[in-house]
Amino acid sequence: MSRIERQRNIIDFTLSSLLRRKRKTIALILVYVLIVFTLGSVLLFTQAMKKEASLILAGAPEMVVQRMTAGRQSLFPVGYIDKIRAIKGVGAARGRLWGYYFDPRTRSNFTFLVPKVFEAKPSEIVVGRGIARSLDTSEDDLLYFRAFDGTRTALRIRGVFDHRSELVASDLILIGERDFRRLFGVPEGYSTDAVLEVKNSKELGIIAFKITQVLPDTRPIRRDLILGTYEAVFNWRGGMALVVLSGAVLAFVILAWDKATGLSAEERREIGILKAIGWDTSDVLLMKFWESAAISITSFFAGILLAYAHVFLASAPLFAAVLKGWSVLYPKFRPAPFIDFYDVAVLFFITVVPYAAATLVPSWRAATLDPDEVMR
C-alpha cells in the first residue's frame, strides 16, 4: 500500500505545483491541444471517409466488365453478356446504362444512371440533393437537358434522395432506359458496361481471368480491388496531410523541449528545496514523469474530444476540402460518428511519444540539479 501512497502523494504535489505555475502550464496545454486536435481531425476524418466508402461499396456489384476499344472504354454489346453468363461460377449478369452529363448552368457533371428497377413513368427522374440544391428545384419541377443531337429534353423530378446517400448520390440522376437512350444516343443492343455476381467470391480472380480469355477486348474490375484502392487513396491522403503537419509537430516538440529546459528560478528553487529536504533524484524524476503525464493526458483527451466535435458534429470544415477531394457538388457531408481505437493509438504515437522524448532529457537535467547550487 505504501507504494501507491507514495505515488499518490507525488501526484498530489505535482498537480498543485502545476497549478501554481498556471500560465506556463496553460500555454503549453493550449498548444498541445491544438496539435492533437489538428492531427486527430485528419485521422478521424480519413477513417470516416474510408468507412463511408466501404458502406457504399458494400452494395456495389462484385465485378464490373468494360469493353475496351483502342485503350478507351466503349459501349458494351449486349451479346457479350450471354458469353459471360456461360462461364461457370458466374451468377447474375446484366448490362448497365449510365453516363455523365456536363451541365453548363452549374458547371458541374451529373451522373445519369438507369437502375435495375425504375418505378417512375417515362420522362421522370429522381435526383440527388446536390443537384436539387444547385439548380434550386424540388419535386414536380421540370428540368431541361440537351440531348446528344442538340434537342431539348424535359424531364420531371419525381423525387429527391434523402441526405443519407449524400456522398455518392449527390450528383446522381436516376432515369428510365428509354429516356436514357434518347438523351445520350446509346443504340439498342448496347449498354455502358456489365455487372455480374459471382457465386463463390473466392473465384473472383479466376472468373476475371476467364472473361479476359473469352472476351479479349474487355476489362473486368473487381469490387474488392476498388475497395482496396479507396482505402489506399484515403490512407495516402491522411498520410500526406500528416507529413505536411509534421512541421507543426516538430515546432511543438521544440516548444515542449524549450519549456522543459528553461526552468524558471522559482522551479529551480522548488527542486532545490525538495532535494534539500530529502527527495531523491528518482523522486524528482517521478514527479517530472507525472507532470508530463498530467499535461499529456489532459491535452490528448481534450484534443481528441475537440477533433471528434470538429469532424462529426461540424463535418470537418477545416480539412474537408483537402481530404475529400471530390467534385464541387459535394458541399454537405456529415460522416457517421465512428471512432476507432487504432486511430487513437496512432494519434498517441505521433503526439505523446515525441513529447515524452523531448521532455526526457530536460526532466532528468532538472532532477539532477544540486540543491546547494540552486539555492545559493
Binding site: L227, G238, M240, L285, Y342, I350
Partner: protein, 330 residues
C-alpha cells in the same frame, strides 16, 4: 511504400527510440570505461547522475516497445486489405521477408528491455552499484537489437508492394496466389499436453520457490519454456476455441473486436510472465553479492508473484475460452 498514418507513426516512433537509446548507450559505454566508485571526481559524479537518465530512457523504451508491438500488428492488419491474398496481419507480415523478423525482434526487445530494468532495479537497491558494469554491458547489445528492429521495420514498410489499382480506371490484375502464411502447424494433442505440463511445472516450481526461496533457476527455466510452448499452444490449440472454428489457427485475429479483444490480455500475460520469468533467472546469480544478499530474495519473491499471476491469468483466460466455447474437439 504504403503511405499510411500508422506506418508513419511506427517509423517516427522507432527512430525516436533509436536516437534516445544511442544517446543512452554512448553514456553507457563511458560508464563502462570510466566508472570508479571510489573516486569523487566531477566525471564520476556526472556519470552517477547519468545512470538515472539511462534508467528512465530504458523505462520509456520498454513502454514504447509494448505499444509499438501491438500497433505494428494492428497496422499490418489494416494493410492486409491492400495486399492481394492477405486477410489479416498473418498474411500482411508475410508479404515480404522483413515482416516476421521485425515482429519477432519487437517481442525479443520488449523482453530484453524488461530484463534490463529488472537488473537495474536490483542494482539500484544496493548502495555500491554491484552490477553496474554488467548492466551497461547488456545495454549495448539491446541498443543494437533495437536498431536492427527499426531497420527491419523500415525495410518491411518500404518493400511493401501493394498489388492494387491506383485508380478506378486503371487496369487491375493480380495473380493473387501468394499463399496464406503457413504457421508452424503442429499436431494439437501433443501441444496441448505439453502446454498443460509446462504450466503445471511452472506453477509448482513457482510456488516452491516462493515459499522456500529455492529453485529459482528451475522456475525461470520452466517459465521460459512455457513462454515458447504457450505461443505454439495459442496457435495450434487455444485460438481455434476462441474462433469456434477448428481450422482457424491465427495468432493475430484474437486481437480483433469480434473476439472481444481477448488477445490483448493473453499477450500481456504472456509477455509479463515470460519477461519476469527471465528476469528472475537473470538476477539469481548475484544473490551471493554481499550488498545484494538482503534485497535479492525479497525482490525475487515479488517477481515470482507477478510471474505466477501472469501465468495463472493466461491459464484462466485460455481455460475460459476452451470451456465456454461452442467448439468441441476430441
Amino acid at each position: 511504400m504504403i503511405f499510411d498514418p500508422g506506418v508513419l507513426a511506427l517509423l517516427s516512433g522507432s527512430f525516436l527510440v533509436v536516437a534516445t537509446l544511442l544517446y543512452a548507450s554512448w553514456y553507457g559505454i563511458r560508464i563502462l570505461r570510466r566508472w570508479d566508485l571510489c573516486s569523487g571526481s566531477q566525471l564520476q559524479l556526472s556519470l552517477e547522475r547519468r545512470t538515472y537518465l539511462i534508467a528512465t530512457i530504458m523505462a520509456y523504451a520498454l513502454g514504447f516497445q509494448l505499444l509499438s508491438l501491438f500497433l505494428f500488428i494492428s497496422t499490418a492488419d489494416r494493410l492486409s486489405s491492400l495486399l492481394a491474398g492477405a486477410m489479416c496481419a498473418a498474411g500482411a507480415l508475410n508479404a515480404n521477408k522483413w515482416g516476421y523478423p521485425a515482429l519477432i525482434l519487437k517481442i525479443v526487445n520488449f523482453m530484453a528491455a524488461g530484463v534490463w530494468l529488472i537488473i537495474n532495479a536490483t542494482d539500484n537497491s544496493a548502495y555500491d552499484y554491484p552490477l553496474i558494469k554488467k548492466k551497461y554491458m547488456l545495454l549495448v547489445p539491446i541498443t543494437a537489437l533495437i536498431c536492427v528492429e527499426a531497420a527491419f521495420q523500415t525495410m518491411y514498410f518500404l518493400r511493401l508492394k501493394p498489388d492494387i489499382i491506383t485508380s478506378c480506371c486503371g487496369a487491375l490484375f493480380s495473380a493473387a496466389s501468394s499463399g496464406a502464411v503457413r504457421v508452424a502447424v503442429l499436431p494439437r494433442k501433443p501441444v496441448a499436453a505439453s502446454f498443460y505440463f509446462c504450466m503445471a511445472l511452472t506453477l509448482t516450481t513457482g510456488l516452491f520457490s516462493y515459499t522456500k526461496g529455492k529453485g529459482a533457476y528451475l522456475f525461470s527455466l520452466s517459465s521460459s519454456v512455457l513462454f515458447g510452448v504457450s505461443i505454439l499452444a495459442l496457435i495450434n490449440y487455444i485460438s481455434p476455441y476462441f474462433y469456434e472454428l477448428p481450422t482457424h489457427h491465427c495468432p493475430f485475429c484474437i486481437l480483433h473486436g469480434e473476439y472481444n479483444f481477448v488477445g490483448y490480455p493473453i499477450y500481456l500475460a504472456l509477455l509479463t510472465g515470460g519477461t519476469t520469468g527471465l528476469g528472475i533467472g537473470a538476477i539469481s546469480p548475484f544473490s551471493g553479492v554481499k550488498s545484494l544478499q538482503q534485497t535479492i530474495p525479497k525482490f525475487r519473491k515479488e517477481l515470482i508473484l507477478i510471474c505466477l499471476s501472469s501465468w495463472l491469468a493466461l491459464f484462466a483466460i485460455s481455460a475460459w475460452g476452451i470451456l465456454f466455447s461452442n467448439l468441441r474437439m476430441d
